[in-house]
């Protein structure tokens, strides 16, 4: 499926429920790196990559909504680039301590997935990507 807007996420709850998503198997840093690749390819970010008041070592999930530029020139969106580079700077500066969801009790993962989804909800609704019907599963 070709999507003009794409949610890059390692939050399994979101990738399951949002049709236009690019599920990432990996850490929040991987999500940011993949987002940067897209920004380099001419996509613009629609949501701040640093949403939520938690540090990289405090939150295993990251989701970024991006949009393909309409022009064919593939020009890089500078604001997007600045935001993603700033986010990467913060994440790479403490790469060793980035929290991974691996081995986390399910209950804990569910809390994290819930907050991540809640923080993205407004943006997703804005771009009509949040399902109107109840989402499946209890945040996992």
């Amino acid at each position: 499926m070709s999507c003009r807007r794409l949610l890059i996420t390692n939050n399994p709850f979101l990738s399951k429920n949002i049709s236009c998503s690019l599920p990432v198997e990996g850490t929040s840093l991987d999500v940011l790196r993949i987002t940067r690749e897209h920004v380099h390819g001419g996509w613009a970010v629609l949501s701040s990559p640093l949403y939520g008041n938690l540090r990289p070592h405090q939150h295993p999930y990251r989701s970024v909504l991006i949009e393909k530029s309409e022009s064919q020139s593939g020009e890089v969106d500078l604001l997007s680039l600045e935001l993603i580079e700033n986010a990467l700077l913060i994440y790479t500066s403490q790469e060793f301590s980035i929290l991974s969801s691996e081995g986390m009790p399910e209950e804990v993962r569910e809390d994290f997935a819930c907050i991540d989804a809640e923080l993205m909800k407004e943006t997703l609704e804005r771009y009509r990507l949040f399902p109107r019907q109840g989402m499946e599963g209890r945040y996992l």
């Binding site: 008041n53 540090r55 700077l89 923080l119």
Partner: protein, 428 residues
């Protein structure tokens, strides 16, 4: 608009038959208050406790702190859109139980909330070690939706604060402060020769546990708007924000916003303070652009020469702060920023996630990542195990003897970006 704050000083708490204030003693009728709070069927359990300055007591996880206030004379009632009707506030007379604070505690999701120590090194960092705290301990019913639980907790704090002050109406008042703000027409003509200034009041609005309410409206849904500073004193802004403890602006800090107080102090001497512009900090990029442009346009429309800007939170809001800053400066409006820093435990990382050369006047409330060791307390109110999972803590933060090793981030109000503490940073 003219508001009188009638302060009743509180420096001691006691349980008693009747809730009342006398000679600095706030007596609380526990049963009456509990009966009121237990009416909320979303809460499975409610309990109350006290924590006073100097006691060996730790409260965690703390959700919000609220100062007891109640309208003696209207219009409107405190916490409009929450406890009272949505009528405009900021005029008349308001009773304040100065020195008392309602502290709500209870689990919501596992990594949130903060710590208040009433004694020891942790007490140095939080302003709420110096208040007489009425602690509301909450437990949700099983399978309650997280939004509903957050609402229930928020409301319990506000209701308790309003209840306490309402019961003390008629108590002997220790001092009266008057705040008066003329309408714009008169304000513009006043204080000729002094620069006109406004306060750009940024509010956290990212989603569940990261929200703030203005007259009951979820702030992420607003466009920036003008607000009279006295409206804030009556609780027009209410916190629904739970992270991070150190730099979330809890309701108490909004009610007592020290920036507003400092601006009033200098008003008419150093500048002409016209009022507040409230704006949000959304996740969506389009909102960031829209709201920063809109705020600065409001400032331009008011014709101000300067804007003092305070941030709430870090990371994503840094982008809003920086946008507000350069958009104002490029419009010829001088800015000063109040923020805090996330420079890493070693202090060597870049403090803000964004920067601009225009941000040449910046006050910081400290590095939230600095690590502190909190020795054990005799008594813990709340859930001590939360130390391992709160923001700023980590697995192993809580030692067997009750010592907690955490980043300042976990201490409530430690790096308040409303400037509620004396903490700051310097470079070595």
């Amino acid at each position: 608009m003219k508001l009188e704050l009638h302060r009743v000083k509180i420096h001691k708490l006691a349980w008693g038959k009747e809730t009342s204030a006398r000679d600095g003693l706030l007596t609380v009728n526990k049963e009456e208050l509990l009966t009121m709070l237990r009416k909320d069927e979303r809460l499975a359990k409610v309990d109350l406790d006290f924590a006073s300055p100097g006691e060996s007591v730790r409260i965690l996880p703390v959700k919000d702190v609220v100062e007891p206030r109640y309208k003696m004379e209207g219009p409107g009632g405190v916490f409009p859109g929450m406890v009272s009707d949505v009528e405009t506030v900021g005029e008349g007379k308001t009773l304040v139980l100065s020195g008392a604070a309602v502290v709500t505690t209870g689990k919501i999701v596992r990594f949130q909330e903060g710590i208040i120590d009433m004694k020891g090194p942790g007490a140095e960092y939080t302003p709420f070690s110096r208040t007489c705290n009425i602690v509301v301990i909450l437990e949700n019913t099983e399978d309650l939706d997280k939004h509903d639980y957050e609402t229930a907790c928020r409301m319990a704090g506000l209701k308790t604060a309003a209840y306490l002050a309402r019961k003390c109406l008629g108590a002997a008042v220790d001092s009266v402060e008057t705040y008066e703000t003329p309408n714009l027409k008169d304000a513009m003509a006043a204080h000729e020769g002094l620069p006109k200034v406004a306060y750009l009041y940024m509010l956290q609005s990212q989603g569940l546990l990261h929200d703030t309410y203005l007259y009951g409206v979820d702030v992420k849904k607003i466009l920036p708007t003008l607000l009279n500073p006295t409206e804030v004193m009556d609780g027009a802004i209410v916190s629904g924000n739970c992270v991070s403890a150190c730099d979330k602006n809890n309701t108490y800090s909004h009610q007592n916003n020290p920036i507003i107080h400092q601006m009033f102090k200098r008003h008419g001497k150093d500048f002409n303070f016209l009022g507040c512009i409230v704006t949000n900090e959304n996740v969506t990029l389009a909102d960031k652009k829209r709201c920063s442009s809109y705020s600065i346009n409001l400032a331009k429309t008011l014709g101000v020469d300067g804007l003092l800007i305070s941030e709430e939170g870090f990371g994503n809001p840094d982008a809003d702060l920086i946008m507000n800053c350069w958009k104002a400066e490029r419009a010829g409006i001088k800015t000063t920023l109040l923020t805090d820093e996330y420079a890493g435990q070693d202090g060597a990382s870049q403090s803000l996630a964004d920067s601009t050369p225009e941000g040449d006047a910046c006050v910081t409330a400290g590095n939230a990542n600095e690590v502190v060791v909190l020795p054990p307390m005799d008594k813990v109110i709340g859930v001590p195990e939360e130390a391992n999972v709160i923001a700023g803590g980590w697995q192993g933060s809580l030692a067997e003897d009750g010592t907690i090793t955490v980043e300042l981030q976990a201490i409530l109000g430690a790096t308040s970006e409303l400037g509620f503490t004396k903490l700051g940073c310097y470079t070595i």
